[in-house]
Each structure stands twice: as C-alpha cells, then as structure tokens.
C-alpha cells in the first residue's frame, strides 16, 4: 500500500514539474519523460517507450497524452489518471488565467519579447525530443531509413501520419526492419 502511494507520488511529482515547461504544444518534454520513465524510475524499457510514443501519436487526442501510458505502466489506471491530471493541471490553470488577462497586455513589450523569444527556444527543444524518440525507436539501418522517409513525407506532403505508420507497420510485419 505504501509502495503504491509512493509510486503515485513519484508519477505526480515527475509530471507536475514538467507541466509549466511543456512548451511548443507539449512535445518538447519528451526527453525528460523518457529519462524519468526509463532511467530514473525504471518504469519501462527503452523499446516500450518507443512503442507507447507511437501508440500515443496514432491515437486521437493530444500527443502529450503519452503521459497516461507512462502512468499506466507505473501505477495502473489510477497512475494514468494521476499522470494526466499532473501534466495538465498547472498549465491549464495558467491558461485559464491568461485567457482572462492576456488582452490587457496587448502592447506590453515583455509580451512581444516573450512571443519572439519562445519560438527559437522551443525549436531547439523540439529537435531534442525528436532525437530522443529516434534513439529509442531505431536499431537498424532499415529503421533509420523509414524514419528519414516518414519525416520527409510529413514535411513535404499532406499524407496522413496514420497511413505512413500503417505502411511502416507492414514493412515491420514482413520482417524487413529487424529488431
């Protein structure tokens, strides 16, 4: 019982601390989620992390709901709910306050500086997130090739990500990717 509570507390602490820094739509926190789930707490293996990332991307809803699957593995259904509440609570509260006050600061210089400054910082963090997933996912030359092609297709075309993942799944099922 005490162990369970301790786990739930760990889940809450990890995601509460990341909520207010989940910039760029929440995709920037992947490196820290990975570190917490795979290394610090050893809730899952690297391979499992890659898999739940893919599942969270394919499922409907915001991609940062990957935290629910980390919580699920660590602490069951309650763990999943704690993870979601922890990651969304602080940022949602801030957004709620912002909705009510932001228009007042329309011409404030700090707001303009904030808007200009956040973009580049988020950009670097997005690349760090991308590489985190690549390192967890790809263990063969064929896998790197699939990653490169799917990245190029998503940047250049409007093909649905689901279709791309399905096609890659077929290649994997045929044994062409290796483990």
């Amino acid at each position: 019982m005490n162990d369970e509570l301790h786990t739930l507390w760990r889940i809450a602490a990890v995601f509460l601390s990341l909520s207010l820094v989940s910039l760029g739509g929440g995709n920037t926190i992947l490196p820290d989620i990975h570190r917490a789930a795979v290394h610090d707490n050893q809730w899952m293996s690297d391979t499992q992390f890659a898999a739940i990332y893919a599942i969270a991307e394919a499922a409907p809803g915001p991609s940062s709901m990957i935290v629910s699957l980390v919580g699920l593995k660590a602490g069951g259904l309650v763990g999943a709910l704690v993870a979601v509440a922890a990651i969304l609570g602080p940022s949602s509260l801030l957004m709620y306050i912002a909705c009510r006050t932001w228009d007042r600061f329309r011409d404030a210089k700090w707001r303009i500086a904030f808007e200009r400054g956040m973009g580049p910082v988020s950009l670097g963090l997005l690349f760090a997130s991308g590489l985190t997933v690549v390192r967890s996912s790809d263990h063969s030359l064929a896998a790197y090739a699939i990653t490169a092609v799917s990245c190029a297709l998503l940047v250049r075309t409007k093909i649905s990500p689901l279709l791309i993942m399905a096609a890659a799944g077929v290649l994997g099922g045929l044994g062409l990717v290796g483990q």
Binding site: S92, L94, L123, L126, A143, G173
Partner: protein, 197 residues
Amino acid sequence: MSEAAAPAAAAPVPSPTLGGLASCFLQIALSSFGGGLSAWTRRIVIEERRWMTDEQFLTALTITRLFPGPNQVNMAIYVGVRFRGLAGALAALAGLLIVPLTILISLGYAYFHFHHIPALQAVLSGVVAAAAGMALSMGVKIVGNYLWQWDALLFGAAAFAGVDMFKISLPLVVVVLTPLAMIWFWPRAAAPAAEQP
C-alpha cells in the same frame, strides 16, 4: 468582399451551450485521428459552428501555442472560457479528453499485455520508426521559418545542446534561456512612438 457585406455575413450565431462546447471538442478530437488537430479545430469552430472569426481564431492560436501545455487543450480552455467561463472550459476539456483517453489507455493495456508476442514486435518495429520520423518532422517544419536568422538559431541550438548533449533538465534549460531570449528579442523602440504602458 465589400465592407457593406460584412455585417450581413456576421449573422449572430447563438452562444454555445456547455453541451455544445463538449460535443464540439469531442468532434475535434475524433476527427484528428493521426494528427492535424489545429486544422480540424479551425474547420469545426469557424466554418461549421461559426463561433469565432478567422482573426479571433488566429489570436487564440497564438496564445495557445505560446503558453505551456498541449495546444489543443489550451484551445479548448480558451474557447470554453470565452463563452461560458470556468464551466465552459471544463466542458470543452471533458469533450476533448475523455473519449481519446479511454481509447489510448485501452490501447496501452493491450500493448503492455501482448507486447512480448514476436509478430506484434515485428510490426511495431516498423511503426515506431515511422513515429520517430513524425517526432523529427515537427522541428524540421519549423526550422524553415528561422533560416538565416542566426540569433534565433543560436538560441535553438543552445536549448537543444542543453537538453540533448548536456542532459540538463528541461525546467532548468527553460528558466535560464527564456529570460535571455526575451532580453535579446526585446522590441527596440526605434520609432518615436514609444508607448509607455
């Protein structure tokens, strides 16, 4: 597209109810299987339900992207608060999250239960590689906006290096780099129109 046509086009659409907000964001969540949430939000909130104008939506999009948290969650809060206050935000959030979370957690259960099956592992080895491409594509898409802007790229590189190469925790990287970036990009009042707030 004349000025006179504008008032006629802006026919008053009744303010949405709590149920309307919830069902709208449920529709958005389910339409967006596999991504493209922003595009779907625009289509449903503006074109189908006509709750906001394009310009209002752009403002909303800027705020939701700027603040921490998933964009779509922030958008649900923004639209909900705008029409129905706190209750509206909660209704929109419930619509956006409950069904997708149920689906996702069910998939998660299935995965953790069956993940040792070799055939599933083989299929997933392909799927995760494609998903990794998706994770990379987000940065690649945005970097085009900053080509040749060396100061912006330098801040991006510093953020990347901090998290990826030096393994510094994200909160620390953000807390250090954000004020520096804000100072660097602080609007300089070159024009005489220096407004004092």
